[in-house]
């Protein structure tokens, strides 16, 4: 019913997006900012932007999400947002007392040409920024890129704001990419397990999956501390996970502070996790028995159940870094990845996915939308869809099992608590895939073929 209007015939559209597979930069910037300890994100634009981003993150995480806004009015849009931002800076430090204020722009403030750097300088001159407090800023126009690019821009701004060149120390930087708090937690655990010191940033674990304790904490215990961020320029190397979300910050750390970087896929799946672990080993990490066992368990589950994956067709929709890694993982499991769609613009995505799938005979598109994916699936049906909550319409329409992964997930929990990265994450994904496929089989199997043992 909902999607009955989607025709099978694909016509190229230039002028519009139908059922978007992306959202705008500022929400990604806000998410990244929340990964700094005692940081308040600030949206330099109309009130609605900030309210929408907070609501969106709240729906996804079921957590309170704090952010301030410049509360633009018609006057501000005509005369510039300087007065609003200056007042905001004073109010924020007086009232909310964050250690870091992370300002991102919106389409409105970008287009009227507010010079945020100059406004911050003026705020400092006028004594609006108390001693020992930090302000960082990212330019995040909503009409360029997507939420992933907004995230990448804010992570880069963290480097701009905190990293200084200096004598190299023994730790490494980990840029986790636009992943869940549970994933960041898991990455830290693995690095620690291998005996390495690291600074992972941003780190939303403990912020957007904080415990219930009877208190409201404006600044929960998680997040990368300023103290740690200040050492990022002294690291011996940076491990950047996901080229789109983490690449820009890694490159800046290199040019600004001379910290060399390794650009890796997100460690989703066995092969990408192996690569992550091997890179850590090269940087001095030790692979201990426990990690070997974790890997072995994941492989055990995969080999036990491989018959259920083989040649099953799958469609993927979401963000570029996740999709490339997922394509590789699913292909390694024996799936046939048929359609891969992202809303985020970027031509390189296409070659990356094709490489991960090991074939050119696959439908890949960037700057695309759910409407297009729906048409692709109508033309070539799949056995499984993996995507965010918005994929549920077509999953229902076409009666195809859906695994929720990515952002946003408004209708299930789990993503904030259980990782999809690393060997543990691979095992969890395998379990999810099996459950989805087997539940489907159980529901539709004719009585005589309804199996007890699977």
């Amino acid at each position: 019913m909902l999607l009955r209007h989607t025709p099978d015939a694909i016509v190229e559209r230039e002028a519009l997006t139908v059922q978007p597979a992306k959202t705008c930069q500022p929400v990604g910037a806000m998410y990244a900012s929340l990964g700094i300890y005692r940081c308040l994100p600030h949206s330099h634009g109309s009130q609605g932007c900030c309210a929408y981003h907070r609501s969106s993150l709240t729906r996804h995480y079921k957590e309170p999400v704090m952010a301030a806004t410049s509360s633009f009015t018609e006057g501000a849009s005509v005369f510039g947002g300087q007065a609003n931002l200056l007042e905001a800076i004073s109010n924020i430090f007086n009232l909310y007392n964050p250690d870091v204020l992370a300002i991102h722009t919106t389409c409105l403030s970008e287009t009227i040409g507010d010079d945020v750097a100059q406004i911050i300088a003026k705020a400092r001159e006028e004594g609006r920024v108390p001693e020992g407090k930090y302000i960082i800023r990212a330019s995040t126009p909503s009409y360029i890129g997507s939420h992933v690019i907004g995230f990448a821009n804010m992570v880069k701004s963290i480097v701009e704001g905190f990293s200084e060149p200096g004598k190299k120390m023994d730790h490494i930087n980990i840029l986790p990419g636009f992943v869940e708090p549970s994933d960041m937690e898991e990455l830290k655990r693995m690095v620690k397990m291998m005996g390495l010191d690291s600074v992972l940033f941003p780190d939303t674990s403990g912020v957007l999956n904080s415990p219930q304790n009877g208190h409201y904490e404006m600044y929960p215990k998680g997040g990368t501390t300023v103290e740690s961020l200040k050492t990022t320029g002294f690291a011996k190397a940076t491990l950047a996970l996901g080229p789109i979300a983490s690449g820009p910050a890694a490159k800046l750390l290199d040019t600004k502070c001379g910290v060399q970087y390794e650009l890796l896929k997100l460690p989703i799946g066995i092969r990408a996790t192996d690569m992550f672990v091997e890179t850590l080993k090269r940087l001095g990490g030790v692979i201990d028995d426990e990690l070997e066992v974790e890997r072995g368990k994941a492989i055990d589950a995969i080999t036990d159940m491989q018959q259920y994956f083989y040649q099953k067709k799958v469609a993927l929709v979401g963000d570029p870094d996740q999709l490339v890694a997922l394509t590789e993982f699913l292909t390694d499991l024996g799936f046939s990845v048929r359609h891969v769609i992202t809303g985020t613009p970027g031509k390189k995505f296409i070659s990356r996915v094709k490489e991960a799938a090991g074939t050119d005979a696959i439908n890949v598109r960037e700057s695309s939308d759910y409407f297009y994916l729906h048409q692709l699936i109508k033309n070539e049906k799949v056995d499984l869809i993996m995507g965010n909550t918005y994929a549920k319409y077509m999953a229902r329409d076409m009666d195809i099992p859906l695994i929720r992964i990515g952002f946003p997930i408004y209708d299930r929990i789990g993503h904030q608590y259980f990782p999809t990265v690393g060997y543990k994450g691979a095992l969890r994904l395998v379990e999810k895939m099996l459950n989805a496929l087997m539940d489907y089989q159980d529901r539709y199997a004719p009585e005589e073929q309804f199996e007890l043992v699977m």
């Binding site: 002028a15 519009l16 109309s46 704090m66 509360s71 009232l95 304790n213 009877g214």
Partner: protein, 453 residues
């Protein structure tokens, strides 16, 4: 205000009031202080939520992708027929259009969509960026309407123009483009229902009451509505305005243009629902309608009373905090909570007006805090200080309540059961008492207490 003001922004002193202690006139209707963590939204948001439920219209967001993405099917405004309103259409403006203008793209998008979906009308929402680059949305709409033969209506909802309230007005302006655009005569004993958006099917319950009273409902604005209904709305004899904040402006316009009188009502709680139905019946002053109304109300109350008695036993003596969009809802909620024996210790709104706060002051008990345009820090402080057992609010307030270890009831977009009318009162009582009495609170530290207190 003496005890609770410390730590709050000076500029907000006149927006926080404690009954029995303070005596000033509350400041409201003012823009949020820059830098505050406000729970408020923008003009676009207001316009979008009001027009969104028109199910057979095309809703095209002219702007950057975010405005479309965040308003894609997030409001549970149910339709009994078409579901077109639940799709997300956006011109997805990019850098190129920001420089060269987006009118051409808008025109193409409209032609494509109208060709594909054959909607009965199209609404084009202007966002911040469309306003700033100076696209002449009105001219494009006019040109497309001429070619396609359907109403193509610009909604002047640039986010920076103000708060949600200004968006309601922009939506009402857009609706006035439709109302009265077909030839029909006045229908005897007929009404429109304004300001109900059919969240969780509420308009279906309300409509049933009026039909039982012997009245004909011409248009529901905008819950489960169709373009044709709205065009014919001028044939009704009375407008019943449920959410005054969003729709009173439309009622006023319709009064001026079509001479249709209106009454402000609320369908939350038994008292207010009964009052609304009686007021409507009184307006028509027809014997059969008056009789039907009194029979209906007596029967409905008889039906729900025993249940309410049971819930009252469970809820008696509890304390509630509420933070909602408009003041009309706050007033109804306080009354509904009283029926359950629950005292309101905090009542806040995003967009309440001066008279609203005076009405709230009159209604509340001593010690109740009233707050305009609040934020999580204030809200959580009041909840703990005043020892609330229950918080009623919207999406951003829910996790706040749970972190504090208290019960929650969504009275906004995300409510899943209808809370309006007589059945709604039972649903409300059930939801509130279930949440307050859930066994999970046994494990959860509550109200700012330390874990092992």
């Amino acid at each position: 205000m003496a005890q609770t003001n410390s730590g709050f922004l000076k500029a907000r002193t006149l927006q926080i009031f404690e009954k029995g202690i303070d005596s000033f006139e509350m400041k409201c209707d003012k823009a949020s202080a820059a830098g505050s963590v406000s729970q408020r939204a923008c003009t676009f948001c207001g316009a979008r939520v009001v027009l969104y439920p028109i199910a057979d219209a095309l809703h095209l967001v002219h702007g950057a992708i975010g405005c479309a993405a965040y308003t894609w099917d997030i409001r549970g405004s149910l339709s009994s027929g078409p579901q077109l309103h639940r799709s997300s259409f956006c011109t997805d403006l990019r850098e190129k259009e920001v420089i060269y203008g987006g009118e051409e793209k808008l025109k193409n998008a409209l032609f494509t969509l109208i060709g594909k979906y054959s909607p009965k009308a199209a609404f084009v929402y202007s966002t911040c960026i469309a306003g700033i680059i100076g696209d002449d949305v009105e001219a494009v709409c006019k040109a497309v309407a001429k070619k396609t033969g359907i109403p193509v209506i610009p909604v002047q909802s640039e986010g920076f123009k103000g708060t949600k309230k200004d968006g309601y007005r922009a939506a009402c302006d857009a609706l006035m483009h439709l109302v009265g655009t077909c030839d029909s005569d006045k229908v005897p004993l007929s009404i429109n229902i304004l300001g109900d958006f059919n969240i969780a099917g509420e308009i279906w319950a309300i409509k049933k009451y009026f039909e039982k009273m012997g009245l004909k409902v011409i248009a529901t604005l905008t819950g489960d509505s169709r373009v044709e209904q709205i065009k014919r709305a001028h044939t009704a004899q009375l407008n019943i305005v449920q959410c005054a904040g969003s729709m009173q402006y439309l009622a006023k316009e319709m009064k001026v243009k079509f001479g249709i009188p209106y009454i402000n009502v609320s369908f939350f709680g038994i008292d207010d629902t009964a009052k609304a139905l009686y007021a409507t019946a009184d307006f028509f002053n027809v014997k059969s309608v008056l009789e039907n109304t009194s029979t209906l109300i007596t029967n409905e109350i008889k039906k729900i009373s025993p249940f309410l008695e049971d819930y009252r036993k469970i809820c008696q003596g509890k304390k509630a905090a509420l933070y909602v969009g408009g003041a009309f809802k706050a007033i109804s909620l306080i009354k509904a909570l009283r029926i359950l024996g629950i005292q309101t210790i905090l009542a806040g709104t995003q967009t309440g007006g001066k008279e609203d706060y005076e009405a709230l002051k009159a209604l509340c008990d001593d010690g109740t805090i009233l707050v305009d345009d609040s934020n999580p820090i204030e809200l959580s402080k009041f909840i703990i200080d005043k020892k609330a057992d229950l918080f009623i609010g919207g999406v951003k307030e829910r996790p706040l309540a749970y972190k504090l270890g208290i019960a929650f009831c969504d009275h906004n977009h995300e409510r899943k059961t209808g809370l309006a009318g007589f059945e709604g009162m039972i649903n409300f009582a059930r939801e509130v008492s279930l949440s307050m009495n859930s066994p999970v609170w046994k494990f959860a530290p509550r109200k700012g207490a330390d874990l092992y207190d």
